[in-house]
Symmetry: C2
Subunit: 342 residues, 2 copies
Amino acid sequence: MNGRERFLAACNRQPVDRPPVWVMRQAGRYLPEYMEVRAKHDFLEVCRSPELVTEVTMQPLRRFNLDAAIIFSDILVVPEAMGQQVTYPKGGPRLTPTIRQASDLERLKECEPEKDLAYVGDALRLMRQTMGEDRALLGFAGAPYTLATYMVEGGGSRHQEQTKRLALGDPELMDELLERLADGVARFLKLQIEAGADAVQIFDTWAGDLSPTDFERLALKPARRVTAQLADLGVPIIYFMNGIAAHLEAAADSGATALGIDWRLDLAEARRRTGGKLALQGNLDPLVLSGPTAIIRERVRAIHDSLDGAPGHIFNLGHGVLPTTPIEGVAAFVDAVVELAK
Amino acid sequence: MNGRERFLAACNRQPVDRPPVWVMRQAGRYLPEYMEVRAKHDFLEVCRSPELVTEVTMQPLRRFNLDAAIIFSDILVVPEAMGQQVTYPKGGPRLTPTIRQASDLERLKECEPEKDLAYVGDALRLMRQTMGEDRALLGFAGAPYTLATYMVEGGGSRHQEQTKRLALGDPELMDELLERLADGVARFLKLQIEAGADAVQIFDTWAGDLSPTDFERLALKPARRVTAQLADLGVPIIYFMNGIAAHLEAAADSGATALGIDWRLDLAEARRRTGGKLALQGNLDPLVLSGPTAIIRERVRAIHDSLDGAPGHIFNLGHGVLPTTPIEGVAAFVDAVVELAK
């Protein structure tokens, strides 16, 4: 069973020799070879060059026994394709002009991935050529709600104040923004699937900070609008949010094949609460990779054992690997999962 | 039924005419009269002066029909009483020297509230004199784990990286720090109860970001060590953490009388999962107070109705009121709860 078969089998809750493993943000700042590339090329330059994307996406595959690669890119390529200006100064991304009223939304264009985001398709094709056929290749996009928070706030934010205000004060405008985002994201994910992605992940990073009422309307409904447009393609869709515990049952209705579970929630409890009706991905605390190897192995084993052999587990961290993570910690994590086969 | 009776009855899951209401951080930066005090006195000066504490603690009581006041103070008075230097530059508190190894811990002294934190007791006594007997007065402290994160990181932090590293790499040291904190916090809360606090809240703000395994060891065990030392006093204890959904059943075993529920988790679900065995406090999204009045009223009513008359609900936000909150939003929230009596 190669990595690609293992990954796809787990997504479809079929038997595997061991759980497949990959790491969110596995191509990134904890790798010196990535920092070397970034010393010569800025972030956007890397994202837009299929060659550089392929290089940094390959980097973790050279070091670790991973079953899947995720194409190196950024969720903010969608707002950019809709006409916002996106820059990456120190301190986090900046999006201008912010979306606060109807006229701001009117100025945005539709996201036309085949025109504006063709470079992501090119990168996926080159990456597949380079990596071969024996590991899975994932595409991804930001979820409508999470993208909307960046577009409304003008960047990252702690409380999504302006977004929630807009959603309460001008619900029609927010709904229109979310619908346009959902349709753009769906087209973008289709493009990635057509370019060879074996599966796609939808990152709804901020959705976990919504109340149940707002989650249903602002996150889940638009996410369903995305998954509905991909359902015919037969490709696994992983829906990830940070802080899923309060919204687990609702998220299980997102139309996704698998749910990403962050480290706060016990994975066996997540399985019990979702009744095994979809695959689960996760969920080691990324900080554990900064601890002793023995503890990394112990925690991997504990997560695995807690599932008691139930099918449909994709091993991963509960959130992206942190830039301060020692490479040995990532290696110990991947090795510990690989050894579960024995 | 006055506010104090209503508040205590709800804590003890007895019948009330309507849920009692107070607001986390109700004395704070959204109030111009608070900003006026702060223009003349820095934060620590306010905390240390019983007169100034009483003035700012009284401010929201003058404006809103609240059932309880919480004494104005800061969770970091405990690390300071243990010998760390605590300052409040722009960008958040700074604690030095940080606790990273055994010798750092050895340099700390025991927290002796009767000596080092007597001013908090004085403030509670003056506040009671000033506010009268008809509303509840709450004391509070940071929980051991949350205090430990500040002491180890040297301030606030997004991922509690150093704290989690220390907990994995030197568990004995972390356990000793947590035990010393628990005993200091317990003594401090006792002092506040003896000074007239009707109830105390333990803020474990960061505990929600732990995995279940780490939550049990790092947050719950020390929190139980606190509550065990207060059990004989017969005063309600509210245990609050931000992001409780993943840890609800565990937190219900903290020995607290009531659990603070943040806005992410459906309150009726929280009640179902805790079996009505303790009171629940919360849980409107603080950002809703920035929305239209009609929505504030609608959401208050929805939370109330979802509980279907079950006893043991203290109305509050799901987290502290934000500095950008309009005063009218806070007024609309409190009024909406008060009107539930009709």
